[in-house]
């Protein structure tokens, strides 16, 4: 029988009994200092709300112009996808795929997955393939790198600042907001709550 009353530290394997925690607090492993579990307030509802907001921002970030570049009377306007297309055209397919994966595909799958799973749980449906899907999208988490991408944008803009003028567009502002919304969604999600709603295969 699985022991739902126990938890083992994922970094040093020390075994603990699970105790209910007051809202907003976390339990740490006394031996290695890793976070064992936390009690986040309104975890699933907050994450659902933030994920829906995230989807709206994702659509805005991808439909509106991102940055415009003006130099010597000429200008180019870009959206999120332009860099990926240009890399692809100049025989940098691997790089194009990596950037596409980490800044567009993974964040989108994460947002869609969270909305699908959390909305189903909220409406007391048992979503199809929930276990496999949730597992898959949790494993993608480290590969969503939009906050790193944003810092890359800032560096690129500063680099170009002396030779040309850069005009930020609605897409960029939506993208900046998306970073905070995605980070907040990830921080407010307690995956244990989703797993605890699952039955066991015994």
């Amino acid at each position: 029988m699985p022991r739902e009353t126990l938890i083992a530290c994922h970094e040093c394997d020390l075994l603990y009994a699970l105790h209910p925690l007051p809202t907003g607090s976390k339990a740490k492993c006394e031996r290695c200092g890793a976070i064992l579990y936390q009690n986040k307030s309104n975890s699933l509802d907050r994450t659902l709300a933030l994920s829906i907001a995230g989807l709206v921002l994702f659509v805005l970030a991808n439909t509106f112009p991102f940055l415009a570049f003006q130099m010597k009377g000429q200008s180019t306007e870009t959206n999120l996808f332009t860099g990926i297309v240009e890399l692809y055209k100049t025989d940098m397919e691997v790089l194009a795929a990596l950037v596409f994966f980490t800044t567009m595909l993974v964040p989108l799958i994460r947002l869609l997955g969270l909305v699908y799973i959390l909305l189903s749980l909220r409406l007391n449906h048992s979503p199809l393939y929930l276990r496999r899907f949730f597992r898959f999208q949790q494993s993608l988490q480290p590969w969503s790198m939009i906050e790193v991408f944003m810092l890359g944008i800032l560096v690129a803009v500063v680099k170009l600042d002396q030779m040309a003028s850069i005009v930020p567009g609605i897409g960029l502002w939506s993208f900046a907001a998306l970073i905070f919304v995605l980070a907040a969604a990830a921080a407010s999600l307690d995956p244990r709550l989703v797993w605890e709603r699952q039955g066991m295969d015994l």
Partner: protein, 211 residues
């Protein structure tokens, strides 16, 4: 002092995905069981952790060389053409007075990959030598290494954005170089290496009886 009680010693396995603690189905040779709650395959420790981490780490070390020698981008203007490696890009930024940006790039693209490779090598060696030295600090070092790796991707993204923005034909154009591909490979491979390392191996050594 009483020996610490770990899940492995109790014949239990903690699921790496949903953290449910289940009994270990059997000894060696027994097919791995699936977690009854989330369906992930259960392992007492990450499979072949040391061998996998070593191979990824060595691959990252090898790719690190072309990543730093080959240009990551080439910019062409009417007046001249300039190829930049990671380091020459940083130096260019310092020369033009952009030292805050130079510091960000230096830290993310030069320091983090080197620190990561050295720390992971050190952790692997310490596990092989069954070291008892500061396990708590070594675990923290691992935690930091795993968390900061992603930030090395900045330079790859900078190149992507420059390529997207600066394509005015003959007037000004930026192209990505092969160095960027190798550099991206170093970042991805070393992130994978950090993920295949199992910090519980550091602690397993502490539980062996003292001679």
């Amino acid at each position: 002092m009483t020996p610490p009680v770990t899940a492995a010693k109790q014949g239990l396995i903690s699921c790496h995905c949903c953290a449910l603690v289940s009994p270990n189905p059997g000894g060696k040779g027994h097919p791995p069981a699936a977690c009854p709650r989330c369906g992930a395959t259960l392992h007492t420790r990450k499979t072949n952790s040391l061998a996998r981490t070593w191979s990824l780490l060595i691959a990252a070390f090898i790719f690190y060389i072309p990543a730093n020698i080959l240009p990551i981008m080439t910019s062409t203007t009417l007046i001249h053409t300039q190829s930049d490696t990671i380091l020459s890009g940083v130096i260019y930024l310092i020369d033009t007075g952009n030292w805050p940006i130079a510091a960000v790039i230096f830290f993310a693209s030069v320091m983090i990959p080197v620190i990561k490779l050295i720390v992971l090598t050190g952790l692997l060696v310490s596990v092989h030598r069954r070291s008892a030295w500061k396990p708590r600090e070594r675990t923290r070092l691992y935690r930091i290494t795993e968390a900061i790796g992603r930030w090395s991707m900045i330079d790859v993204y900078v190149v992507t954005i420059l390529v997207a923005l600066v394509h005015l034909g003959a007037i000004a154009q930026v192209k990505a170089g092969l160095g960027a591909v190798f550099f991206a490979a170093v970042v991805v491979i070393s992130m994978l290496a950090a993920r295949t390392f199992d910090p519980r191996l550091i602690w397993d050594q502490q539980e062996l009886p003292n001679e």
